[in-house]
């Protein structure tokens, strides 16, 4: 019976545009961590060989993350919000959506905390940032934080949703009480453009 169904589909669709549409589906919930680590390490090495300095490398990783963020935000939003019937037009609900749903779809868990610093600066924290888990930075690369990819991921989402911001990643100070296996917390700092703050206060 299965074979007959497939033959019928082929016969009926003389025009490929008549084939049934591809559903978005629920998305694959788990990907092997070593597979991701391998892919990410190759990407870092690729950009490292093409970058003149640390900030150029971080920028390249951020841009790569931004592409991922923009695309995954549309799909995550469609799946989570009753087939796309709702979207985020205010800042705080959007940040909470990023902290929970976007983080869960990308990293399998929610981000640890979301804090506000000034009226235009917000901070997301992740104690066990997947992107940094398998990375050890040699001394000669100094301040490099490959969490720049995650910062770019957030920047891509914010920009796509209409809340442009400068987003950067940096490590917290070592904190023996909170750090897992001595890995420092990764912080994602978001500094929003003036137009975002003005619109938010106008919308009240």
């Amino acid at each position: 019976r299965h074979r007959r169904d497939r033959v019928e589909t082929i016969v009926m669709a003389s025009n490929p545009l008549d084939l049934p549409p591809t559903p978005l589906g629920r998305g694959r919930s788990e990907v092997a961590a070593p597979a991701f680590a391998l892919l990410f390490s190759e990407m870092v090495q690729y950009h490292q060989s093409r970058s003149l300095d640390i900030s150029a490398l971080e920028r390249a990783l951020e841009d790569a993350g931004a592409d991922v963020g923009r695309r995954s935000y549309e799909s995550t939003s469609y799946r989570e919000k009753a087939s796309g019937s709702k979207r985020e037009h205010r800042l705080l609900p959007l940040l909470q959506f990023i902290q929970s749903s976007c983080w869960r779809s990308m990293f399998g868990r929610v981000a640890d905390s979301l804090e506000v610093y000034d009226d235009d600066e917000y901070l997301l924290s992740d104690r066990d940032c997947l992107v940094n888990r398998f990375i050890s930075v040699p001394k000669d690369l100094g301040d490099l934080n490959c969490g720049a990819f995650t910062a770019g991921f957030v920047r891509g989402i914010l920009h796509a949703a209409g809340f442009p911001a400068k987003v950067s990643a940096y490590y917290s100070e070592p904190n023996p009480a909170a750090d897992i296996n001595g890995v420092r917390t990764t912080n994602i700092l978001m500094k929003f453009e003036r137009e975002v703050i003005e619109r938010e206060s106008r919308l009240g």
Binding site: N15, P16, L17, D18, L19, P20, P21, T22, P23, L24, D67, R70, R71, Y73, E74, S75, S77, Y78, K81, S83, G84, S85, K86, R87, E88, H89, R90, P93, A160, A161, G162, R199, L203
Partner: protein, 179 residues
Amino acid sequence: AMSTPAPSMPPPSVAPSAGTRTKLLFTVINADDVPVYAVDLANAWSEARGIEAVVRELSIDDASRATTERDDYVFELIARGALDFVDERAWESNAAYLKVVDRFNDVNVYAYVTSTRVKFVLCAEMRADEPMRAFFADVHEGYCVAMMNPMRDEDAPLDTSEVFQRAVRAAARKRLGVV
């Protein structure tokens, strides 16, 4: 007494009256206001309608042909002109479906905004909220799938995406009664 269940509402028909051509212009405009897709849903796939399309084509006189050709541009102009209203409405609520954002004579402009601020705009002479909302939702799913392609830029035209075109065509048939 026996009662038969009420028939479910058929989708609104876009079958045009003899001698005229109904327009159902669907456009996709990205977040940077670059149009990436436009199609006249009522007429784009007219090869599928065979002899009826030929008869209809023959019955159009020159005067109304000139009118319908001019109408092509009018519908596009209406869609462009409505974009400001779409932007205004987009910041008023968190709904994706914005219903009718503008009207021009008999033409209603329906709009839908996705999470990444991509606008779906539909210009139609008919008035029907629920089918439009369902149409936009189906197309949105197709757009999500097309967007996942890492080779596709934000301003790349969508008519190269077979996935998206299949979704638009299926949605138009299922929700809007296009043949």
